[in-house]
Symmetry: C2
Amino acid sequence: VLSDIRKPYLLFLGDVKEEAFAKTAFGLADWCPDDCVAQWNLPDVGVRLPLPEMSPREAAAAGAKSMVVAVAPIGGDIPPHWRHSLVMALESGLDLVSGLHVRLAEIPEVRDAAARCGRALHDVRHPRRRFSVATGRRRTGKRLLTVGTDCAVGKKYAALAIATEMRARGKAANFRATGQTGIMIAGEGIAIDAVVADFISGAAEALSPDNDHAHWDIIEGQGSLFHPAYAGVTLGLIHGSQADALVLCHDGARRFINGFADYPIVSVETAIPRLLDVARLTNPAARFVGVCLNSSKLPPHERIAVMAEIEERTELPCCDPILDGVARIVDLLGA
Amino acid sequence: VLSDIRKPYLLFLGDVKEEAFAKTAFGLADWCPDDCVAQWNLPDVGVRLPLPEMSPREAAAAGAKSMVVAVAPIGGDIPPHWRHSLVMALESGLDLVSGLHVRLAEIPEVRDAAARCGRALHDVRHPRRRFSVATGRRRTGKRLLTVGTDCAVGKKYAALAIATEMRARGKAANFRATGQTGIMIAGEGIAIDAVVADFISGAAEALSPDNDHAHWDIIEGQGSLFHPAYAGVTLGLIHGSQADALVLCHDGARRFINGFADYPIVSVETAIPRLLDVARLTNPAARFVGVCLNSSKLPPHERIAVMAEIEERTELPCCDPILDGVARIVDLLGA
């Protein structure tokens, strides 16, 4: 578990033109605004966050400890004309945090500047620790895992909303991050899709260790059991999480797996029993406690109808976490 | 796909005491005897293969190109007192091939000797190429995948037996290896459990590329969908393989997942529909063509009864590949 990322952050946007490439930046500004001191960008940027603009030197003076590469450039690489900005951050006393596939230390100027300035480079997609093979041993404490009918349907958002709601009610709950944006928000976690295949479930076990009886780990799901490329990651995460409670995340308007036009999205009522079947291998008491509907692409009248239909078919509360909150789901997690 | 391993082999046994630790050596001697020139060992060895004994120098003179570390030492590490033997092999002109978790190049004497002698080090557990995310696109040619109710139930043996039987019948068929012993037997393959989790299915797609319409890839399965540690690997392999035909491997005497006493083995009739459900995501025409029973621990009268019961319950041919061959399964693969 990465736990030496130093907050608060300066968010670097490079010169990306569209919000779709700045999902990490928006996730951080939404979910840990108190950890975001400022934004910084190149002159041609097309995206703005609701944060002050500061140079690395100004941000460091205002208390920032790390600069986050908070965007996903096309191709996953860091464009050469961004490198000078990364070096400036290091020279201003900031660590660097990146969720890209390319490693910061593979860029010679960046590696040399980090060594010269004594700063840390955090590639949150690349776990630095070794994991063990899963044991299957039941752990103490409670766990909730968000699962989905596809990638990018709101599993991270749902988990964060549930953890936030639980803490607001005074319950002991931790958000457990499994993807790069989640790790930056939490300041720790495991990029589960970057682990060697043999150790997926072992890494998931390490992510939510034994805890107090009444404590809940709210675990960010990854991929989908019904995804032709990522289902292995999802299944390993389900088995290692040993979830007591599952929440299904679903995009009400999506008809096909994102980017896989031959693969229809399964219905909520098809997904639930299949997911329970596999979850019960490592926790026979696993149950669903709700459906989180991403209704952003549904017209309002349709949204109400879709939610009512899902509630009728599943006998579970269905809510859009952004519009409705997740109180009715948290109600089902017990006193 | 590793394809630059040079055969034939000298098999190194170290000083292991039990056959259980020499599974790789026995697999090679069984399945590619013509590729095994000789065996070599330290004085204290407790295991013998049906092969002549030669030193690395003698083996090289007899035509050997590589020495295989054909045993699994306790802990997975290479004991320090074996290192001199590995260096001797390199100095005799042999490459080294290892299926252990530890990399040969991490042993300084071995790395230095390989560089000095211009010899190659093959760590078949560590894929050297990068894989892509799976596309889910259907490929040409036919594929059979062996799956199991547990690890170590005979999935590699079944796949090798089926590929051998098909070739004996004049059919175009390739064994596709996914584990270290299989890779050494085939001389190529992908250690699927050593791939980064995001790319399991992508690696499985790369393992059995487009082929002639009538050609069969016979793919070695890994793990089990019902295994608390390895199911993610299994599912990713199933999805990427897009199997037309599946063969279930089962140990008739085993009651619990090997090493996981809290996890009962599922029945054959429970396993088959669950496996079909997931296989049909990427190949809707997937079907089972047989059950391979490992009956080595069953008394003869019980073996007959168990096989008859499995045939009745599954309506599939059931055979022990070692005792019965796999002809009745291959019969179902079409003309």
